[in-house]
Subunit: 190 residues, 2 copies
């Protein structure tokens, strides 16, 4: 998606160690006009798939997921990273390793909101090692819901997550796929 690639080039900051800082428009400050265009693109890609639920993970996936959900006319469910006392009853759970934060955590979704009959589109901001996406896919499979695929804003295609997930037969559509990046020369897209 040209608009997102151009924005990454203009406002993204590449740091050593494969870090891309896009918090001026994607995951701390959020450019809602950009999200609208991203949502329309996800809708174009998945419009014929019968999507009736969007699944994402807190926190930075939520904004993109909610804006995108308007295109599908469906609710959003977000997986939580910590069990709170307000979520009672049975939950689907899977384990995620965050390489950014250097920790392992459980993600959960209430069984009330993910179940057989749901046709799920997973939305998230980043795909790199694929651990979060893999965890979300696991929740969908465990629930008996059907998975339409995943819509990702930025994929670090030089890391193995995208290939790993696609090799399982899951459709993954990333709006910007980064082939390589470096603080000296910036970002190169696939």
């Amino acid at each position: 998606m040209k608009l997102l690639e151009e924005r990454i080039v203009r406002d993204g900051i590449v740091r050593e160690g494969g870090v891309l800082k896009v918090d001026s428009f994607l995951n701390h400050q959020m450019d809602i006009a950009l999200f609208r265009e991203m949502g329309r693109e996800f809708a174009r890609l998945y419009k014929d798939c019968g999507v009736n639920k969007i699944l994402t993970i807190e926190a930075s996936g939520i904004g993109i997921a909610c804006i995108t959900a308007q295109e599908f006319g469906c609710p959003v469910v977000f997986a939580k990273k910590n069990k709170t006392k307000n979520i009672a009853g049975d939950v689907w759970t899977s384990r995620v390793e965050s390489f950014t934060h250097g920790k392992v955590y459980d993600i959960i979704v209430s069984k009330d909101y993910l179940k057989k009959g749901d046709k799920v589109l997973i939305i998230d901001d980043f795909l790199a090692m694929g651990s979060a996406l893999n965890g979300l896919i696991q929740l969908v499979h465990d629930s008996g819901a059907e998975l339409a695929g995943a819509g990702i804003a930025i994929e670090k295609a030089f890391q193995p997550g995208g290939e790993m997930i696609r090799s399982k037969g899951v459709r993954v559509e990333s709006l910007a796929r980064i082939e390589s990046m470096d603080p000296a020369y910036g970002v190169k897209f696939c």
Copy 2:
């Protein structure tokens, strides 16, 4: 706001100890069509205030904030609860006590995204003890930005947060204000 009150009556679950479970439409599964109407109501209330930034806090405020931001044509910034290595540089910080989760934590916003010249509307899903809202107001004041006010989905008016914040001269608009609630008789609005 009638629509939200009716939804709380229909789908909210009152538990002992002042717990209102609205995770079927507000803060786990999110009804985006409802959020659209809530966003329009916030826009009606604050339309003449020159709002150019919406501030919220992860995670459950983000969806409402993003949908509402479409009405104002402005970006959303969400305060983070944990410092990650992707947020470098200077941050505004304040302390929040979560009574739901029984812990104290710091919230942070990058100084790049909250500053003098911003006219801020704070959006959040719940107002009860007022600690989160108070922390967000502190961030706005520290940054030199101007505060238009706060837009809250559900206020537990039987708890002291709303009164505490309003007594400081801050405009707080809550779409549903609960006077009292009980597992036996349900929810009574102000």
